[in-house]
Symmetry: C2
Subunit: 305 residues, 2 copies
């Protein structure tokens, strides 16, 4: 493959193939298939305001200090409207503008049938094949995107921070199940100990078997790098656990299953676009809106033409 | 239809048909098609911690005082893991346990092919047909779920609050495009004026035509009902604008289009489940994971068997 980690422009072109749903993508994926599986994939997620970007930046600095090549995909699930994520761009400005072994890309999900579940794994596949040691996928929100990122990642970091009033709410929303590591960022702020305690209490209620991974809680102050070496140590430990328990292959096979299904679904939907009923969608919608037709019957007419 | 707004148990059973993807749903939808289009659909969204539940509760109280029948669908996009939303339940406990003209239901998207885009519109359709005057759909997060809720609603309320450090970030994530009304909740707290100013500045940068709706900014302190009458007045004003500009029919036709497509896609996916390749998905995933196959070729094999 022409694009190795140092070739920013070739990489950017390849990732654009994904964003543009280019027909060339098939050929590229065929060529790079044997090159996959090297990168450790980190998912990083959390509510707005917890400092995801600064944690990402601190991790990138740390890994670069160790001589590793780092890719970052900043995924903005709401980009159908806003036209692109800004998190990754901010990091690029600050530190790594001239570092050819850091590749940062904002991924927009707009316009893609299947959204993130379609585009992100393929961009990830390209960075992996290009030889990045670590690929970090960062996303905002406590929602479907987060769940999808967790299913893509080898190791999922859930970032929380004191003073947002949401640690308990976020816990309810299912982060316990997706977090491999909890990062309590802004740990120099009042209330950080309370957040750590809340998470610890929550974890104490979970039933872990002795072979299960128990998510550690790492306190960080990302701008000053406090706690960042603890965080990378926890990530290493998780990676070792994944490998020793056969979990890594299991997770990655599940990821491949999702990816294949998403592509197949996109293909099916594409075919649906060619069905005779598609041109009648506006008319069918108008009849449903007017109460003249139910949506199931309309869907039948859409499929059968 | 047997279930009118006062019959909680009949309604609950009908909504369960949606959650269970029951085959009876087709028949129900056919019967209720002519009854649709009465309810005003409010979407309510915002980050964790802004007080969405208390705003919802305040709106329910207010509408009940006016004698209106109110349905609430609390949608939790992360429920594939957590097993259900808790927002609606909390409200139910507090105020309306014995009020038969308030129907509150937590919607989980787990297990549904197509997730929220499939189940929520159908539950909405049932409440609409049952004669509710207002149906309020509440969801957490700044993500895909939020965008989907906005596409379902006649009027979308974006709730923000001071002290979360996310007003600007949230703005970047596209809320400007989905908000019909901004609600600055917890307006008695320090920083509330700054939040109002930030949103006002953001709106000033947008290019509105004279016929466009310009989102008002309403300050509320939901637990004490401060600002809640301003909020319902703004909602009424938006509804009048929707009707006079022909926007309501346009929005609802777009909603019906999405709904029909989602059902058709689910149906296609269902058919995919019956394809000969489906039983080979695990094997195909293992080969992709091992780098022996690319995901496109795997998807082709999945479709063609």
């Amino acid at each position: 493959m022409a694009a190795r980690t140092g070739d920013q422009r070739a990489l950017a072109r390849l990732v654009s193939l994904v964003e543009d749903s280019s027909p060339d993508l098939r050929r590229v994926m065929k060529v790079i298939a044997p090159l996959s599986g090297h990168a450790h994939v980190l998912g990083l997620t959390g509510s707005p305001g917890v400092g995801k970007s600064t944690v990402t930046a601190a991790l990138v600095r740390r890994y670069r200090d160790e001589g590793l090549h780092v890719g970052v995909l900043a995924v903005d699930p709401s980009s159908p409207f806003s036209g692109g994520a800004l998190l990754g761009d901010r990091i690029r400005m600050q530190d790594h503008a001239t570092d050819e072994h850091v590749f940062i890309r904002s991924m927009a999900s707009r316009g893609h049938l299947g959204g993130l579940s379609w585009a992100t794994p393929q961009a990830l596949r390209i960075l992996d094949a290009a030889g990045f040691d670590v690929v970090l996928i960062e996303t905002v929100g406590v929602g479907q995107a987060e769940v999808e990122i967790a299913s893509l990642a080898d190791t999922t970091l859930v970032v929380v921070a004191p003073g947002l009033g949401d640690s308990v709410q976020a816990a309810k929303a299912g982060i316990l199940e997706i977090a491999d590591i909890f990062v309590v960022n802004k740990s120099d702020r009042p209330g950080a100990h309370d957040v750590v305690r809340d998470i610890r209490n929550m974890l104490a209620l979970a039933n872990y078997a002795s072979s299960d991974w128990k998510p550690p809680i790492i306190s960080t102050t990302a701008p000053t790098n406090d706690g960042v070496s603890d965080l990378t140590a926890a990530i290493d430990k998780h990676r070792t656990w994944l490998a020793s328990e056969g979990q890594l292959t299991k997770r990655r096979q599940a990821r491949a299953r999702d990816e294949i299904s998403a592509i197949a679904l996109t293909e099916l939907r594409h075919r649906m676009g060619g069905l005779p009923g598609e041109s009648r969608l506006d008319e069918l919608a108008a009849r449903v809106e007017a109460g003249l037709l139910d949506p199931y019957t309309a869907a039948d007419e859409l499929i059968s033409g």
